[in-house]
Symmetry: C2
């Protein structure tokens, strides 16, 4: 008996994932352990595997199997979702001519180098011509993919399935007054909090011990994952039971690595909870970046920066770092939830973080529409920054050159960070309505919360759309009120 | 202008090496960092990449390009060597039917598990049926490949290009009386050396510091390599500038890891010295295992266990491990060069090591010829062991079950260890005839020695045959006298 077109399609899609997950392993190694001089060979290996994966995923065999499988009635909702998403992926990939894909990868390689140089020297002019080309290319892609209202839709859709620029813009516009007010209050209140009470000596090995204990207590499975050291922390999946978190260490401040690990562990818990047998299929992958980011933010901020968490963990932390024994819980909580206006997004606190995103979304949208010329980006950035934060970046390295995203062709990405914050608050508030979960949270027991997330989010994989995940888990589409409520409560504490 | 068949062939061979080196990276990760539950997915990734590499290297395109390239006059000695070796590799691979290759990989998978179980329980009967199948398969491969005198030739040839069983047997027979006498004397002399004077507390991080300093002092380039931790140490090449050494740590004895690192660094220095642009080609790879092993043994034993090395390094070692300050150089040298009869090859000292190899070569040759039935291996092992070492293994775990090689289908491998010892002594003795090298060795400066090895061995790659390397570098074919002289001098010291 020969297998159905659908089964053959699934096997082929999983074959592609064998290649892409091997490429992910090489990439992880590059960011963690690879010796410096091996860069060229590693680039060649990764390009080769990516090329083979892309050829399989856009080849004639794939196309014919997909069409044939679509002509049968899908056997269940999961099969329907796999066909829906494989079709979307195939069309998006197939619509881009090979020439353009190669052009993009070259533009990004040069763009990344020019951006790094430009940021180092704080000289936007070094990056501007590359950004111009990347924007032109992004518009070309949007035209090839098609879009509802404006080209930015097609880019946003790359990262957040089903999102529309206009809706995100409306949401962000509505959020802005509240967010600026909360930030203002939080910064004012924090003025009296000494920033330095936690500074001290935190040897890397002891931080690693604490990080591992905390990640395990959240439910991260070290039989199916690890934590390694890197320059720019990330979480990556090398297989259905192989999730790698990364972090970096500041020996004068353990919180930066610890909260980073909780953030990445949030991503990792999502990946560890995806349906194992569907690895490499839409039904076995994360639903969207806005959902992914909700998991990292939920564990980092809602769990990791809460009083109940530190009621349990401060004593243990002070065992590992004895000089913390003299710090009171209230002072500790104030220190880790201190808010201030700052220039760099990745170092921003919860109260001001979303303002950085609002800024980027607005700038990106205007660049892509053509309303904002690339050469005017620094001025526009600084102007908007001043209106949101009340201060002007001292230079472009602290302004429009700080993020790597554009140099990698990642236009359309930033909004997912704030969508993640909104989803995190909404999911967390919904989960803790259950008495059992709330009671467990009070004693820093995270098994019931994880179990709820496993069932409502993780195990769903990419079968539902992001909006369906939120509707199903919380009864409502994404709504900003939970996030605002959370910020008000935390920064009014 | 289209490129020649030879150039196309070379490009294809290097394409194969992109796949095999990616597989090597995944394998390295499996042995060092991979979380336990990821085994199945990793096996699938590796099998996939290996399968693709094998398909390319034995496919029609390869075969036709090879034949076409062979019909042109090779442009130089390197091209001739590449054609010679690619033909040999192709023929050997193509002569094995796909069915047999799959059968072998399954036999090895099960054989490895059965061997591990058998060794654990010291029960040969658990492994015997697997060994029987592996031997039958090895004979079948030898028949398919063809051989000069006896089937074992074809297996030996897998690891040592151009070696003949009869010649190795003659060599080993000639060596045996000298080696047994040297071992006897060394063991007798060592009876008065206290084995435990170096035992103490050696934290892993401090061992890592010393290991890295020593490896760097030998010339190992950490911009093109690293040292990681594993259960069974090895050296592997992930790219032309990416050589990974591994080691394990005994916190009560730093010498086990340090000499292990010098051994693996010897392999690594060879790999780092191969012609970079020829990566993935015969001309860019190591010549043979007997030459490879000569490099590891040279650095571990001739350099690492010498007086001049420790004149420099004992003071530094005692800075890192202060309790060693009380140890005198003479006592230290006696301790690291202590000889004793022991059952386990991998723990054997230099004076007794080759006896372990003579034993294995004799047993293997008789198994493969059919003279020795698999069921009689334990008895034959113990009998030969007693005649060489004057004692009988207490059980098969300390006897014929100790090595993993047979369970992985590695019949024909062991002789290369002793060939490596002979080559090491001969190369080292030849190099130090140069005054500049000898003087540098006396002050533990290894740059001139490395430079000589780079020029005479490493940079040659696989263009010459092993015998040609030795003739060219030392003026003579491999001769045991240097090794015997070295052992006599060291153990008469």
């Amino acid at each position: 008996m020969s297998s159905s077109a659908y089964d053959q399609l699934i096997a082929l899609a999983q074959e592609v994932s064998v290649l892409t997950s091997a490429e992910a392993a090489l990439s992880w190694d590059q960011e963690t352990y690879m010796p410096a001089r091996s860069l060229n060979h590693r680039a060649r290996q990764m390009a080769y595997l990516n090329g083979k994966a892309h050829a399989l995923a856009t080849g004639t065999v794939f196309r014919k199997l997909l069409a044939k499988a679509e002509s049968d009635k899908p056997r269940d909702a999961k099969a329907a979702a796999n066909l829906r998403e494989l079709r979307r992926d195939y069309d998006r990939a197939a619509k881009l001519p090979q020439k353009l894909v190669i052009e993009e990868s070259e533009l990004c390689a040069h763009g990344k180098a020019a951006w790094a140089e430009g940021r180092k020297k704080s000289d936007f002019s070094l990056f501007a011509p590359h950004l111009q080309k990347l924007v032109t290319l992004a518009r070309k892609k949007a035209d090839l993919w098609g879009y509802a209202d404006e080209p930015y839709d097609a880019l946003l859709e790359t990262y957040e399935r089903g999102a529309r620029t206009r809706e995100v813009a409306t949401l962000f516009a509505k959020l802005k007054p509240d967010l600026t007010q909360i930030a203002r209050q939080a910064v004012d209140q924090s003025a009296s909090v000494k920033p330095n009470i936690l500074r001290g000596k935190y040897p890397v090995e002891k931080q690693q011990l604490l990080n591992a204990e905390v990640a395990a207590s959240l439910g991260f499975d070290f039989e199916a994952g690890r934590i390694d050291t890197t320059a720019h922390p990330f979480c990556t999946t090398l297989g259905p039971a192989d999730i790698r978190l990364t972090t970096r260490y500041d020996e004068s401040d353990f919180t930066s690595s610890l909260f980073g690990v909780m953030h990445e562990a949030g991503h990792g818990l999502y990946e560890q909870g995806l349906p194992v047998d569907d690895f490499g299929l839409p039904s076995g992958r994360a639903c969207s970046l806005g959902i992914h980011e909700s998991q990292s933010r939920l564990w980092e901020n809602h769990v990791g920066r809460s009083r109940s968490f530190w009621e349990k963990w401060l004593p243990r932390t002070a065992e590992i770092f004895p000089h913390l024994k003299k710090i009171k819980l209230d002072d500790f909580l104030r220190a880790i939830n201190r808010a201030e206006y700052s220039f760099i997004r990745v170092e921003a606190d919860q109260a001001t973080y979303d303002l950085h995103i609002l800024l980027r979304f607005s700038i990106e949208r205007r660049i892509v529409s053509g309303e904002l010329a690339v050469k005017n980006v620094p001025a526009a950035w600084n102007e908007e920054f001043e209106s949101l934060f009340g201060m002007v970046p001292p230079d472009d390295a602290h302004g429009c050159l700080q993020d790597i995203h554009w140099s990698m062709g990642g236009l359309g990405y930033f909004a997912t960070y704030t969508l993640g914050n909104l989803n995190a608050a909404q999911l967390f508030a919904t989960a803790r309505k259950q008495k059992k979960i709330a009671a467990a949270l009070d004693r820093a027991d995270y098994a019931p919360l994880l179990s709820w997330l496993r069932s409502n989010v993780h195990s769903q994989g990419g079968t539902p759309l992001p909006g369906e995940i939120m509707e199903h888990a919380t009864g409502k589409p994404t709504d900003a009120k939970w996030h605002l409520k959370h910020l008000r409560e935390r920064f009014a504490e």
